[in-house]
Each structure stands twice: as C-alpha cells, then as structure tokens.
Symmetry: C3
Subunit: 139 residues, 3 copies
C-alpha cells in the first residue's frame, strides 16, 4: 500500500512539534519562521476572545508574555486533513501549564489549525484555540 | 520505501482522536458511529471492573455520566498492529481528568483496543482500559 | 506519493511507546531489550546531572528506583529524523508523574534520543533528558 498523504501529514506533525518545543524553550526567532506571512490567530474563552491580526502581533505577544515564564505546551491526537496540494487543516487536543505570578494554571482544549506549503515548507497559516477547561494549579 | 500499513495506522489514529474529541465536546450521536455494532467494553480497577455488553450500553452510560461534566481525555504513544486485512489492535497510554461533584480526579492507564474495518471505515470493536493510577485532583 | 521514511519513523515511535509502557508496567526484562549494548544516558537538571555509562547501569537504576513505585511517563510531539540507513535521532516532549515517599512530583521536559537498527530492530542507543519544570504534586 502506498500512503497518499503520509509524508505531508508527518511533516505537519513535525511543524506543530516545533511550534510547541520552540515556544517552551523560548527560541522566538526560529518560532516566528513557522508561520505564514498572513497568519491569523484566535484564542477563544472562557476569557474574552483574543484575536491576532498578524504574525508579528502573535509572535510579539507570545514572546513578551510567555518569554520570562516557565511554560509547558503539549499537543495530542492530531487529525490532519490535506485539503489541496499545498493546504491542510489540523485539529489537536492540547494541554498547557503556565505559571504567571498570581495566575498559575493548567489548561485543556483544542487547536483548530490551517497549514499552507510555502516554498516547499509547511507553515501554520491560522490557529483557533478553543478551551475545555482552565484550572488553577493545585486545584 | 513503501509503507505497508501506514495509511491504515494513520486512519486508526484518527479514529481514536475522534473518540476522545467527540467525547470531550459531547457530540454523542457522532461518537456512537465510531463503534462496531458488536462492541464490547471493559474498564478494569482500582474500582470494581465495569463491563459493557453492547455499544448501546457503552454509549448510553458515557452520555449519561460524562455528558453534564467537563471532561478531558488524551491518548498517547499508540502501538497499532494490523492483525489482518480488516482487523487491528492498538495500545494507548491515557490521561483523563473528570470533575464530578464530590469526585474530582486525574487518571492514568492504558487502552487495549480492537479495531475492525466495516464498509471501508475503521471502527472500535472492543476496549479494555487498565489503570496505573487514579488520583484526586489537588493531590 | 511514497513515504521515504514513514515505516522507520513509525517503528521508532513504537519503540519509544514500548519504552514508556514497559517502564510504567514494570516489565524490566523486556524493557532492557529496547536498548543497544552500548547505550549511554544523561539526565540533566534542575538536579545535578546524572550520567549512565552503560545499559546495565541504566536498567538497574530504573528498576531499583522506579520498580516499587506507581509511575506515569508520557511522550509527546515526536520529531524523528533518519540520519542514515540504520541511524536516527528523535526529540520528544515528556511528562512524568512519580510518587516516591517524601518526593511526589510531576515533571516536564524533552528527550533527545539516538536510535540504531541492530539485527533489523530499532533500539535506543542514547538518551539525554532535559527538564522544563519539576513541580511537587499538589502545587
């Protein structure tokens, strides 16, 4: 059996792995390269929705807020679908642990991603994050 | 190199991803469609074993107990083995977080699954869940 | 599309899945078989670094320390790279939960692994574990 999309699916899983690892190890310049130039982001509640209108806004915000903190972000159970020769979507279950002074929490939810191949490399074109639960640490 | 079973293995991973996601987002009608008509389930202790003799019993029980709750279920580290052209087994490490009134816990263990292809679609034919640990939340 | 390395990548993921599962279910004789004869290990801080100069030292240490305990170890988000026909590297995000008397913790970090194919079977040739966080349970 050949595997029609396995190579692209594995490449997209590696892209998302780098997204999490470079974020948690604070390699922000390399992290920025994972996104398309027209990236858009949306973090949905329980908190008020947060929109990111550009890659620069998204990268700058994450770098400023998460950069000084110990953070842990894991993705699980990917559902990757090729929607065209150079486009794909993905759903990932997620876990994060963030320890801000006065706001230490564990969270759970799902990423709903769009990916696009640019110059032969898969990139993240859009992220919508939905939440099942945000729980204070120790609760 | 061709990949003998990669497409089926990826399809089974996606099936299990939908199992977790549709459960935690409470899409029970779609969740029911993931199982074969002759599904059997077994949840092994620390609590007394719980047997599910039919798909309907399993779906109804999960819907009634977990439906009103915030739940998180993640699968990790799949070991998928094709045992025939239309049958497979899978082992998954698991994490769950369930917050019932008076019984809030995090749990860890392993799913031991059987899968069968029915009308071209992989389905879950049997689940046996074993537990490493069930810990009260906040402990 | 053929998938150049998908079969080896899946085999290495299964190898690491067995690493975690056989450790947490305390099947130490089978666990030992997952490593090459010249295995080397390094666990980096926050604690002082711990080096393992041989497979026997690594297996004996894990068996003695973790054998009597309930442990949970999960790997996430693999980045597997074939570096030759019979060699590969892998990075995994990790989670562990270890409950020793007087030292109950959850930990987060990354495995940086080397793999080698020996007699047709992929084996773990080296592990370096780096830590993002080790947090006392209940914190």
């Amino acid at each position: 059996m050949t595997c029609l999309h396995c190579e692209d699916i594995e490449a997209i899983k590696r892209l998302k792995a780098r997204y999490f690892r470079l974020m948690d190890t604070k390699q922000w310049d390399a992290w920025r390269e994972l996104f398309t130039a027209d990236f858009r982001g949306l973090y949905r509640g329980p908190h008020p929705d947060i929109s990111y209108a550009s890659r620069e806004e998204f990268v700058t915000s994450n770098r400023e807020i998460l950069g000084p903190l110990v953070t842990v972000h894991h993705g699980h159970m990917p559902e990757i679908t090729l929607s065209g020769p150079d486009t794909a979507t993905g759903i990932w279950a997620m876990y994060d642990r963030v320890e801000m002074p006065g706001n230490r929490f564990e969270g759970y939810g799902h990423y709903h991603d769009e990916y696009r191949r640019v110059d032969g490399e898969w990139r993240i074109a859009a992220i919508t994050l939905t939440r099942l639960r945000i729980a204070p640490l120790g609760d």
